[in-house]
């Protein structure tokens, strides 16, 4: 469904991504791990069109996606949805819940894209908020806001959800809420999920695959189950060690 071919990007002569390649199938979930500043967010932004690669291609269902979002068609834009790291900055806090979800519905309908109703989307991610449609966004917690952002991402029936460290600004409860929702969505709605993370929690088998980005390249790309045994690259081992260290605590 999604194919990344030889994507390269540099900032000020420093190569952040060098010939990055991987694929993602329908309904598959991929965890992209790597060091801070290592290019994960850049890659996520290139896929959703907010940045342009220096070279290489991003293909959705075999069709090449143009560099920036301005040049992509509304359909292509609706197929890939991006969840921001900080939910507080991703919405207009003085709007109501209805207005926030309504914006997405309005824009999608204008482009003639098939949508699911906002109540249904919200039911998938935050059913307890269905009665709070007229509450202002600033009154919700971080976890609730992030789930609302996921709901509005579901409205246009996307093929791919990209979540960029979507739980790092939340507390433990919020984090659990969001991860549960993402997993349910993957199981029930067959949406592919590309999750960019800083560190990995191996205690629960939530993801299909893990890819590790190090030095601008994909150094590891294994199914989740086999990662603990087969991961060979030194950075991958470091990730595993630190995750085990913290989970033991």
């Amino acid at each position: 469904m999604l194919e990344i071919r030889n994507v390269t990007k540099s900032y000020d002569e420093k190569a952040v991504l060098s010939s990055v390649c991987f694929t993602l199938l329908d309904g598959e979930s991929l965890l992209l791990a790597g060091e801070t500043g290592g290019g994960k967010t850049t890659l996520a932004r290139i896929i959703c069109g907010s940045q342009c690669p220096d070279s290489g291609e991003v293909l959705l269902d075999g069709k090449r996606l143009l560099g920036t979002y301005r040049k992509r068609s509304p359909e292509e834009l609706a197929d890939i949805q991006y969840i921001f790291q900080d939910p507080y900055s991703a919405v207009e806090l003085t709007n109501t819940l209805r207005q926030t979800l309504g914006e997405t519905e309005r824009v999608m309908k204008r482009h003639g894209r098939g949508c699911i109703p906002m109540e249904e989307a919200l039911f998938q991610t935050a059913p307890e908020l269905l009665g709070d449609m007229d509450k202002k966004m600033e009154q919700f917690s971080g976890g609730q806001l992030q789930r609302i952002c996921i709901a509005r991402a579901l409205i246009p029936r996307p093929k791919l959800l990209i979540t960029d460290e979507s739980t790092s600004m939340l507390d433990k409860d919020g984090e659990d809420e969001v991860l549960d929702v993402l997993h349910r969505l993957k199981r029930e709605r067959k949406v592919s999920i590309l999750s960019v993370v800083h560190d990995i929690d191996f205690s629960v088998a939530r993801w299909d695959r893990i890819a590790v980005l190090f030095g601008g390249r994909i150094v590891e790309d294994l199914p989740f189950g086999r990662f603990l045994e087969e991961a060979a690259h030194p950075y991958s081992r470091r990730l595993i060690e630190s995750s085990l260290f913290f989970s033991e605590k």
């Binding site: 069109g49 834009l77 991006y82 921001f84 991703a90 919405v91 207009e92 824009v107 204008r110």
Partner: protein, 268 residues
């Protein structure tokens, strides 16, 4: 309305009150005018008295009536020039951010106009072109939009790079969707800019009048100040107290009050 009033400090309330007074004086002032401002049938150079509250000038005009008519012209100039330049400036600022390719061009154009002293261009236009009120206002708008542009652009630029606006653009939202998203963070700067431009417009008009430019028939404060300064005995007797001072105080208070409001608002 009440919410805005309650949020203002004491100083801001005094300034706002003065602005309202000016506005009311512009609207209703001429009703209280004892003489029509261009009536020069009264005896010349009378000191203040019961009939002529501020005396008369060397041609026989009642100064008090002229000061009252000045409120109207000041409001006219300052409000229309401010409205025009703020609209033009903010629209261009938005356009330059939404369409980044033409944005650079507009930015360069605005920079050139900011480097050149705008009052000079306005003077130039007033001298070369037909001296009508419309021309003066148009030239004020045309030469002062860059200042509005620069400030509006820097405020909007922060909004444009925010995540919420990025989201709207990533789902294929059009210009209006983006404006709706920006509105809450962006509109306060418009109020500040409006006040800033309104005060500048009055300074421009006064300066133009000093150089003998602009419509000679309109009895603005600038004209009044110029006549007072041109009066042959200006430096030798005390006529300036009731001839020059009233108009001067009106101008200075207006500009100062607006500057204080702008200063408090956004530290522009």
């Amino acid at each position: 309305m009440k919410k805005i009033w309650s949020r203002l400090s004491a100083v801001q309330r005094i300034c706002a009150g003065i602005c309202i007074f000016y506005f009311l004086a512009a609207a209703f002032g001429p009703i209280f005018s004892p003489f029509p401002p261009d009536d020069f049938s009264s005896p010349a150079l009378l000191p203040p008295g019961r009939v002529h509250l501020l005396g008369t000038d060397e041609m026989g005009h009642d100064i008090f009536s002229m000061v009252l008519s000045g409120f109207r012209y000041t409001m006219l100039f300052s409000l229309t020039a401010a409205l025009g330049s703020v609209s033009l400036g903010t629209v261009l600022a938005f356009a330059s951010l939404y369409f980044p390719r033409i944005g650079r061009g507009i930015n360069h154009l605005a920079t050139v106009f900011l480097i050149i002293p705008d009052i000079l261009l306005i003077l130039f236009v007033a001298a070369f072109a037909a001296p009508t009120c419309t021309n003066t206002i148009l030239s004020m708008i045309f030469f002062s939009w860059p200042r509005v542009f620069r400030i509006a652009r820097s405020r909007l630029s922060a909004c444009f790079s925010s995540n919420k606006v990025a989201y709207t653009m990533l789902i294929g939202g059009n210009m209006w969707d983006v404006i709706r998203k920006l509105w809450h963070d962006g509109y306060p700067v418009i109020g500040t800019l409006f006040m800033m431009q309104a005060s500048r417009a009055v300074t421009y008009e006064t300066t133009l009048a000093f150089f003998g430019l602009g419509d000679p028939l309109l009895k603005t404060w600038g004209r009044l100040i110029r006549s007072a300064l041109n009066y042959e005995n200006f430096f030798y007797d005390n006529t300036w107290c009731w001839y020059l001072l009233p108009a001067m105080i009106c101008v200075v208070v207006y500009v100062a009050v607006l500057s204080v409001l702008v200063f408090d608002e956004g530290k522009v």
